[in-house]
């Protein structure tokens, strides 16, 4: 038997896969500018105008816009990317390389998180300038921000690998974005929402993400943040496990 190839160590696999996925900036930067920066900034300006001078409403508008930028841009891009990789044979190609499928998922999700950081910074800074809400950033933001991205990226990946085409991935992802964004106190304070919507929001990861973002970006940080972190971590684990499980790798 001829000598086999050497399977690279996991950290080498991850680095290469991460860099490969970072090359997606070549197509995704337009989306990042339009839906990751412009849309949240315009939403901030429009909703801020309705909120008037009510500080609590302004806080919800700012943090809701950050969540919009941070979570849904990622979800849409990851959904589009997995849909594309499935349609174009990229996942098949990876499956024939000596790499772990879990690292393909992780590298993809984290690469899109890194690609979304400029959107996050622009949305936070411009939103603060427009609304005049003072920022008080907690060190816990380093934990909370990735945990806001990962569950939605996981949902995006699940959408991408289960739908039939990249175009369908975009449509389904947008629908889920709208549902999750407006079904809970994300951009609007809870006292402006009907009771049934507050009830529904308890099962939406977006509500916990918005709560955590409000605490670590505006303050004060309370014990609630740990519940938010726990829920987001749980959703992350479940969705990424689902992606790893459903990823077309060695199909039946």
């Amino acid at each position: 038997m001829p000598p086999s190839l050497q399977r690279p160590r996991p950290h080498i696999q991850f680095t290469d896969l991460f860099l490969i996925q970072l090359s997606n900036f070549r197509w995704s930067w337009r989306g990042q500018v339009v839906t990751g920066m412009l849309a949240p900034v315009l939403a901030t300006a429009a909703l801020g105008a309705f909120a008037g001078r009510d500080q609590q409403s302004l806080t919800y508008v700012l943090c809701g816009s950050i969540v919009l930028s941070l979570m849904f841009q990622n979800q849409n891009n990851v959904a589009a990317n997995f849909g594309y990789m499935k349609a174009m044979g990229t996942l098949d190609f990876f499956a024939t390389l000596p790499v772990y499928r879990s690292l393909v998922v992780l590298a993809t999700v984290l690469a899109f998180f890194v690609l979304s950081i400029p959107s996050l910074v622009v949305t936070a800074l411009v939103g603060t300038m427009i609304l005049g809400v003072p920022l008080s950033i907690s060190p816990l933001a380093l934990l909370v921000v990735p945990l806001c991205v990962l569950p939605m990226a996981g949902i995006g990946a699940l959408i991408g690998i289960t739908v039939r085409s990249p175009a369908e991935a975009g449509t389904v992802s947008m629908l889920i974005t709208l549902l999750l964004l407006f079904m809970g106190p994300v951009v609007l304070p809870p006292d402006r929402l009907p009771d049934w919507m507050i009830g529904v929001s308890h099962v939406s990861p977006t509500s916990y993400a918005a709560s955590a973002i409000r605490q670590v970006v505006i303050g004060p940080v309370t014990g609630q943040v740990w519940l938010d972190v726990a829920v987001l971590a749980l959703v992350t684990v479940v969705t990424l496990w689902g992606v790893g499980h459903k990823l077309p790798w060695h199909q039946k």
Binding site: M1, S4, L5, R7, L19, I20, M88, G89, K252
Partner: protein
Amino acid sequence: MTVAYRVENLVKRYPRQDVLAVDGMSFEIAEGEIFGLLGDNGAGKTTLVRQLVGLLRPTSGRIELFGRDVVEYTGFVSTMIGYMPQSTAALNRLTVGEAVYFSAHLRGMSRGDARRERDELLELWRIAEIRDKVSTNLSGGQSRLLQLAVATAGRAPVLILDEPTNDLDPVNKKHVWEVLRGFNQGRGTTIVLVTHDAVEAEKAIQRVGIVQRGRFTALGTPARLKAEIAQKLKVHLAFPPDDPPELPYGVVPQERSAGTWLLMLDRDEAGELLGKLDLRKITDIRMTSTTLEDLYLHYAS
């Protein structure tokens, strides 16, 4: 002889389809062999190849690569093969140079070796001039050459290539067969390939399987298969349409177009024909023996 692939009673049925995509195939591919799969579209070639690389699980039957079950040892398979899918878009967001480098590095080469491999393969596959181009901006032929470079990066001992010469011009097609023959002779690479390019493939393929409706209708060396069909010579004659040549008694031409005949001759008839023809009235004459393409057409029909 070491067996690279051993396939036993392989069956693949897709969900909600009555017809089997692969219908009980059994065969072996030797280490260091170039094995070609010919067949119509939808005959089951790509399904077979995807099972060989472990991308599709068989409905029943067994595939072994160097004695290990492909379904059970998927990790082992990925350390033995370089796969080129039919689609040319696998790493489309990378530049040409990046795609080849990462493929070599992910197949276990060190960074330095992967860089050297990249430079060597870009030259070998004649794509060095487009190394900084993003893959989405390539022509069909350039994409195909890139996919070949990506599949061969890292020097896997087995190459599985699904239609490696599609989209290529005749010069590049010839080059691809030469390079593949070089890998086979120089490194002992086992090559399994699907192709429709029967004429050119004949120069490289050592054994061929002709696939029809998920089964082999013929399997063997081109020479043996040729011996099984009639020992005829093909003669193409072109002449002024209003002045057809005289043929030996008993030779019946098949008219291909005005002023063009195809003659199927026994070997002893060929000399008689040449003696009888008035070559001043003939604008073109070509005589060939049975080709791989004839074999394909014969067994496919």
